[in-house]
């Protein structure tokens, strides 16, 4: 921008300062309104709130995740449904930019400081909209005994070479009790897995019920 007209420049700079502030304020207001609705005692208000979460979008991701483990069962459920609403909204065609931001926020929720139920749910959200940037943090959970099966299934669903490579690498590193699971994911992705046969048809569970003689 030319500085030959300082007055124009300063007006422009001032406008640049004001507009983002207005946008941030509006965004914060939308999030606050959403969260108030999610926490409401009235089931209809909570429902209306979570159904509107898609339009609020990425700024609501972390606030909703925080409430997903609320001790009030229905409040927690509303928060979870609100987060899913965002995922389904940004997954629509021609919303790549919105989706990218939400994926970024979801990836941050895979960190150790988040409760297991939140991370498990976030994994499945990423199974629908996650891209190759999500693969590495998801793959890191393959060594977490509580989350590894979900992480495996999610990598199985995310298309592309990065997810496939992560599964192949995981097979090499996996403990014996998880190798067959990963082998199945690789087979589902069209890979041959010599030496690790499919055990889907081997019965494993006995019954205590006896036949009548």
């Amino acid at each position: 921008m030319s500085i030959s007209n300082p007055k124009k420049v300063s007006l422009t700079i001032a406008a640049a300062g004001v507009v983002p502030s207005v946008a941030v304020a509006a965004r914060n207001k939308a999030v606050s309104k959403l969260m108030a609705g999610i926490r409401d005692n009235d089931a209809s208000v909570r429902t209306e709130a979570w159904q509107s979460a898609g339009e609020v979008g990425a700024p609501a991701v972390k606030p909703l995740a925080k409430v997903m483990t609320n001790e009030e069962l229905e409040v927690a459920r509303a928060a979870k449904r609100g987060l899913w609403k965002i995922v389904r909204h940004v997954g629509r065609p021609d919303a790549a930019d919105e989706k990218r931001v939400v994926v970024g926020k979801l990836i941050e929720l895979l960190d150790d400081d988040q409760p297991v139920p939140v991370r498990r749910e976030v994994l499945w959200m990423l199974s629908e909209i996650g891209d190759r940037n999500a693969v590495k943090p998801i793959a890191a959970l393959l060594s977490d005994r509580e989350l590894r099966e979900d992480a495996r299934m999610v990598l199985q669903r995310i298309p592309g070479r990065t997810a496939l490579a992560a599964l192949k690498a995981a097979l090499k590193a996996a403990p014996d009790d998880f190798k067959l699971n990963i082998a199945q994911s690789l087979r589902q992705r069209g890979e041959k897995v010599p030496g690790l046969d499919c055990v889907k048809l081997i019965p494993t569970k006995e019954t205590n019920v006896k036949s009548l003689k």
Binding site: C198, I202, P203, E206
Partner: protein, 448 residues
């Protein structure tokens, strides 16, 4: 009668050669073999899932056994109370299993009836077919598009006869409706409006808890991703979970839309667009749409199918004496209205109760008119398919086509947007998220 082969897991593994040489670790004696049960040979059945509709099927099969028509070799359930009850129902000479895979290994069993919750239908049907068993599987056939494809392939590759439990097609009045419509009595039909009442909301949500001692929760969940047990998942109420029963559109839609697809001559076809709206439950675990409206547009020929799920909407009625082929209309709250160029036609039900308007019941087939297939009964039609290789009235291809309508309707509702469908490629067009949701990864080892 074939010798009953009893085997436990240790013996199974020894027979399979627990070393890693066979891809699916199935003994060769179990693998599907060509050839069919002789016309006069009694079929030996097993039942997988013996609660709810499973209990109905078991009772029906016991009656057939008592008439000397079939043998019943085994019953199976993940709930040991239900399993014990089933053993009492059948009486002597029946083995009980918790794990259905023992049944699939048995050479003496010809066919299985699968009446487990919907999320198991695809996996168990495919496994049964891969082990050479003919299959009767409850509707809806599949929970995802990919499951449906796998089921069709498994039936074809393994040459087994499959009947899906949309028994409306086999009801006496369904035959009357079919021949009435196919002979142009209401002219060219360009719209079929299916009506149904709401899906229920969970009025009694409870926290997660430990499963009851008799229930194998891991086995009940099967292919679904892990979650703690909650009383509101089972039994029977799996119908209202989107990932299992999928709500009324899948539970009854699989019946009502089955009739529509059949009478419209639309088996093997699919819509080009699907658009759904609906209302959600306001609380509780159940997440299927309470009210719902779905529009399916078909091309070549052009027609529209709708699913309208609203309690309180006016539904057509008909007075009956009880002497009609289907008797009195005991369930008038769901059915469909067919709109033709020369008039309308109504049917109610579409499942074990299918009732059609008087004008169709009373219509006589004139000389030269087209008659249609009349099912001898849904199980009888299946037995005939097993013995002769004839396609069943609700074969897996047709059933998957109907289930896909339900699946797509729910997907459009969940995503909040219209979907485009390519029937030839069997895939959703232009929506990557929806494409990923055509398939659902399954928990090891309960997978296709």
């Amino acid at each position: 009668m074939k010798r009953i082969k009893k085997i436990n897991r240790r013996e199974f593994l020894a027979a399979a050669g627990a070393a890693v040489s066979v891809p699916y670790l199935i003994p060769s004696s179990v693998l599907a073999a060509p050839g069919r049960t002789g016309a006069n040979e009694k079929l030996t059945m097993a039942h997988i899932g013996v609660g709810g509709m499973g209990g109905y099927h078991l009772g029906d099969m016991v009656a057939r056994r008592d008439r000397g028509e079939v043998n019943i070799a085994a019953v199976c359930d993940a709930d040991e109370k239900r399993l014990a009850g089933a053993v009492k129902t059948v009486g002597h000479d029946v083995e009980a299993y918790r794990d259905y895979r023992y049944i699939l290994h048995r050479n003496d069993i010809d066919a299985v009836v699968i009446a487990t919750p919907d999320h198991w239908h695809g996996v168990q049907m495919v496994h049964a077919a891969q082990c050479g068993k003919h299959v009767y599987v409850e509707k809806p056939a599949c929970c995802t598009i990919e499951e449906g494809k796998a089921m069709v392939a498994a039936a074809k590759d393994n040459k087994v006869s499959v009947q899906v439990g949309s028994q409306g097609r086999s009801q006496p009045e369904a035959y009357l409706a079919h021949r009435y419509l196919v002979n142009g009595n209401i002219g060219h039909i360009d719209k079929v409006n299916c009506f149904h009442y709401n899906s229920p909301e969970d009025s009694n949500p409870v926290p997660d808890s430990e499963p009851p001692a008799e229930l194998d929760w891991d086995l009940w969940l099967g292919p679904l991703r892990w979650r703690p047990y909650n009383q509101r998942y089972c039994h029977g109420v799996f119908r209202w979970l989107m990932e299992s029963g999928g709500g009324q559109i899948r539970d009854r839609g699989a019946h009502v839309m089955s009739c529509a697809m059949w009478w419209m001559g639309a088996d093997g076809t699919g819509p080009v667009t699907v658009e759904a709206t609906g209302t959600s439950p306001t609380k509780g675990l159940w997440d299927s749409a309470v009210t719902m409206d779905v529009t399916y547009t078909f091309k070549n020929p052009d027609w529209v199918l709708t699913w309208n799920q609203h309690t309180g909407n006016a539904v057509p009625a008909e007075e009956r004496t009880g002497n009609e082929p289907g008797g009195k209309i005991s369930r008038p709250g769901y059915g469909a209205v067919y709109h033709g160029s020369k008039g309308k036609f109504v049917h109610w039900g579409g499942d074990g109760g299918t009732w059609v308007e008087k004008k169709a019941r009373q219509w006589e087939l004139p000389a030269g008119a087209k008659d249609v297939y009349k099912s001898p009964g849904h199980k009888e039609d299946w037995f005939n398919g097993i013995k002769t290789g004839a396609k069943t009235i609700m074969n897996i291809e047709a059933a998957v086509g109907v289930a896909n309508l339900c699946v797509l309707g729910n997907l459009s509702y969940i995503l909040g947007r219209k979907l485009e469908w390519d029937q030839a490629k069997q895939e959703i067009v232009g929506d990557r998220q929806a494409q990923r949701m055509m398939y659902r990864p399954q928990r090891h080892p309960y997978h296709l």
